[in-house]
């Protein structure tokens, strides 16, 4: 707290102010300052006379907060009527246009312009009573000549007509030995049983030597035949 030896030109410029400030009378604490303090400490009365600020809200942010709040209120109350809250379960489903087709039938509509607002089954009954099973998948195409093309589809994928790759691979041969049977994909809805892993056994030395001797004898026999 000693006197600083730093004296710049700035300090010389304000020399009279600095000297006046230094010569201001020193204010001293009250005589009973220590007594009051020690009483507070002994009584554990630590409540500060100047309460500390616990919540600090910058007043400069008040206009921004007000604008944000008013915008929120505006959107919440005044734009609510524009929102269309329809129950999605009450909306009729839209017609799906694209399906793969196998068969094609053509029907003429008496009121073709209504096709967009009707479901596929309704349109078909409105036309010339072509019998189309309701379970079949149909494709409805609106043509410029006000005709509707109905295409019935027979898809090959079904539980009853599943492809059994084993039958293609084995050529419908029935293998009695389950070990030799190499089933790739099971057909139908029946799951295949897991047969387990099989370890390939190595040939023994004796059998190899036996085969070698057989081969040697065969080669010798061929040579003698040629000669």
């Amino acid at each position: 707290m000693g006197i600083n030896s730093y004296h710049s030109n700035e300090e010389q410029k304000f020399a009279h102010i600095i000297s006046d400030l230094k010569n201001l009378p020193k204010v001293k604490a009250e005589d009973n300052f220590e007594f009051n303090l020690m009483v507070k400490i002994r009584n554990r009365n630590f409540e500060l006379s100047v309460p500390e600020r616990k919540f600090i809200f910058n007043r400069a942010l008040a206009p921004a907060a007000a604008v944000t709040f008013s915008i929120m209120i505006f959107f919440f109350f005044f734009t609510e009527s524009n929102v269309n809250l329809e129950n999605p379960f009450l909306i009729p489903p839209e017609i799906r246009a694209n399906y793969s087709a196998a068969k094609t039938d053509t029907i003429v509509l008496s009121q073709p312009e209504m096709i967009t607002s009707y479901s596929a089954e309704k349109v078909l009954t409105q036309a010339d009573d072509t019998e189309v099973p309701p379970s079949n998948i149909v494709r409805v195409v609106v043509e410029p000549s006000d005709a509707v093309t109905v295409e019935t589809v027979d898809l090959p994928f079904d539980d009853n007509s599943a492809v059994d790759l084993d039958s293609y691979v084995t050529g419908n041969r029935v293998q009695q030995n389950r070990v030799q049977r190499g089933q790739l994909v099971g057909g139908g809805s029946q799951p295949t049983n897991f047969d387990g892993f099989f370890i390939k056994e190595r040939a023994s030395k004796e059998s190899i030597e036996l085969h070698k001797t057989k081969l040697d004898s065969l080669k010798k026999a061929q040579k003698t035949e040629k000669e």
């Binding site: 102010i17 204010v27 300052f33 220590e34 303090l37 630590f46 006379s49 100047v50």
Partner: protein, 197 residues
């Protein structure tokens, strides 16, 4: 040979208080700092009662939070930081009260303004009186922005170094110097009638 407690430095005393909770060490520190802190706070807030309360609060905070003092800092800068923060809180509280108060009579700044700037208010012989002059300077000081006022008081009244002021306020030395310069300039403008002669 053990020293007497009164011969110990501030830092040694607070170490003693921290380690052994020696109340006597605390009392010695209170005795050493009560007057300079009261002077600093009074010059900052301009009110005797408030300054006494603030210094009391400072000492209570020091008592309760003695362990938050770290030995690498000077004790004087640490205790002045506490006092300065409490004084700033008091000024903010007053400002809030002034804003929300419907009674305009609380604001007596205008009357102070007249006292400072109207030279004819005082007779020349009375102006020479040191008490009145110090009163005028104090009023002018209170009209300087608090951010500048604090550093001017610490530098020119409490005679701290720039480094110590930077430690107390948590500012860089460059900022401290510029704030002191601005504070002095404001003060000079406020007291121009006194320094004309």
């Amino acid at each position: 040979m053990t020293k007497k407690l009164t011969e110990l430095t501030d830092e040694e005393l607070i170490k003693e208080f921290q380690d052994n909770e020696t109340l006597e060490a605390y009392e010695i520190l209170v005795k050493r700092f009560k007057d300079p802190l009261t002077n600093f706070v009074f010059r900052f807030v301009g009110d005797r009662d408030s300054s006494t309360d603030i210094v009391q609060d400072t000492m209570i905070k020091f008592y309760l939070n003695k362990d938050s003092y770290k030995s690498f800092a000077k004790f004087s800068t640490w205790i002045y930081t506490i006092a300065g923060n409490l004084a700033k809180n008091e000024l903010k509280r007053r400002k809030r009260r002034k804003i929300f108060s419907l009674d305009n009579n609380i604001d007596d700044d205008e009357s102070k303004k007249i006292q400072i700037e109207d030279k004819s208010f005082f007779e020349p012989d009375r102006l020479a009186d040191s008490n009145i002059k110090s009163h005028i300077i104090q009023n002018a000081l209170l009209r300087v922005k608090p951010v500048y006022r604090e550093v001017v008081i610490l530098r020119d009244i409490e005679e701290f170094t720039y480094e110590e002021i930077a430690d107390i306020t948590g500012l860089s030395i460059g900022t401290v110097k510029s704030r002191i310069n601005r504070g002095r300039t404001q003060l000079q403008k406020l007291l121009k009638n006194i320094y004309k002669e």
